[in-house]
Symmetry: C2
């Protein structure tokens, strides 16, 4: 379990194995795993990815990785978590989506279009520029990488629709239950009772459209009912059956 956690929970790895970072073979792990989820990759494709990983950059938590209004600058997140969001003048914040290790961000719905969302590092993160990489993959439509990336975009799209329903039509309890289930699935640890969730309660509340205080109280109730426990960046699902019932919706991948 420790292995699993440190695996997905990239931000921790980084700090633990800093000395061995440069030559770490696992640095490409999350990205490869995600890309090969939709079909096997060729040996050359895997090589491409490993090559890419060598050029990664490190950013501390809180860094703006991609600013709204800028032209698209596609990137992959190798480790750590990020959030796509918008902040209102008065400080209110809405998080549109979370970006997990191995996932991409910074591409618009169309090339050369201005993005309308800001991406912020929610933990320490590592990123690589994916522009050239994506451009090359785009040339060969049969490419496994290209297929994987398109599949990822589809998933993102589905998630956002679900997020809208959650924001507009679920109660706070349902929102939280649904959110935890979504994160469980995305973590890949589909059946594990525990998985990494390195998010602040304030961050979660800004995603779900609820006040931090209220979120905290809802969490307390879910904890008391032994449905979920969040502690130290790790989520533990107790009665996943009951949690699913409380979520009303079936969360997407």
């Amino acid at each position: 379990m420790v292995e699993l956690v440190s695996d997905t929970y990239g931000a921790i790895i980084t700090r633990v194995s800093r000395s061995a970072a440069r030559e770490s073979p696992t640095a490409a792990g999350p990205l490869l795993r995600r890309l090969s989820r939709f079909g096997p990759l060729g040996a050359d494709e895997i090589e491409q990815v490993r090559d890419l990983v060598g050029r990664r950059k490190r950013w501390r938590s809180g860094t703006t990785l991609f600013a709204e209004g800028r032209p698209a600058a596609p990137q992959f997140l190798l480790s750590g978590w990020a959030g796509a969001q918008r902040v209102l003048r008065d400080g209110r914040r809405q998080i549109f989506d979370f970006i997990l290790p191995g996932e991409g961000f910074g591409y618009g719905p169309a090339v050369d279009s201005q993005a309308r969302q800001t991406v912020v590092a929610l933990t320490a993160v590592e990123t690589v520029d994916a522009a050239a990489f994506l451009g090359a993959a785009r040339e060969v439509p049969s490419n496994g990488l290209w297929r994987a990336i398109r599949a990822t975009e589809l998933e993102e799209d589905a998630r956002r629709l679900e997020h809208m329903v959650r924001l507009g039509r679920l109660t706070a309890h349902e929102k939280v239950a649904h959110f935890v289930l979504e994160m469980q699935r995305r973590s890949g640890a589909s059946e594990a009772s525990s998985f990494p969730l390195p998010l602040t309660q304030e961050t979660i509340s800004d995603a779900l459209g609820v006040s931090v205080v209220h979120l905290n109280r809802v969490l307390r109730q879910l904890r008391a009912a032994d449905l979920v426990k969040l502690r130290g960046g790790v989520a533990m699902v107790g009665d996943s059956k009951a949690l699913a019932a409380a979520a009303v919706l079936t969360p997407p991948a």
Copy 2:
């Protein structure tokens, strides 16, 4: 003003001029107007559109035009209004977006993917199949039509992000003000004080994530403050300055 209303409010036209429907030169109006908003169209392109319009079909209000889970089946809405939505098991409904005369729907984020939203006619509507049309336009990237369609998708994307912020972080008052402004812009009658809004209060409430009753009360207050009046499918903006202030956000196109 009557002309303007009947123009955009396609559903009304249809009924009024039923006898002259077949050869009506205005049937292609909304679609042409919207497509040429991003640059002039060639004479041949205009001809293509007119040709398309001849094959239009009529549907009564409430009809499901496109069902979630089905493979993409792109269509244009020539007249009337539709809504992209999802309904929960217990009857709760979330409307993702509205589709106005001249706009398209039924295409997924990728070709041959399953759509995850249902499109329902909110008034009587007229639609045409756009699959062949889009396929042809896609062949010629320089095509004015293709450019227009891509631009439309960008707008839709921007609208949905804004919709998320609205759902998650705005109060009911702000939601309504923001929504009215968005609709004003989309109606094309940007500076007119009055524009068609053929939506039920229940429909609007399902879009904004608010109960009908509460929406009604908010509308009453906005009416009393002379900010907006909704009556008989028409919206009248009184103090548009104050309305914008109440909306907090600047709505997208």
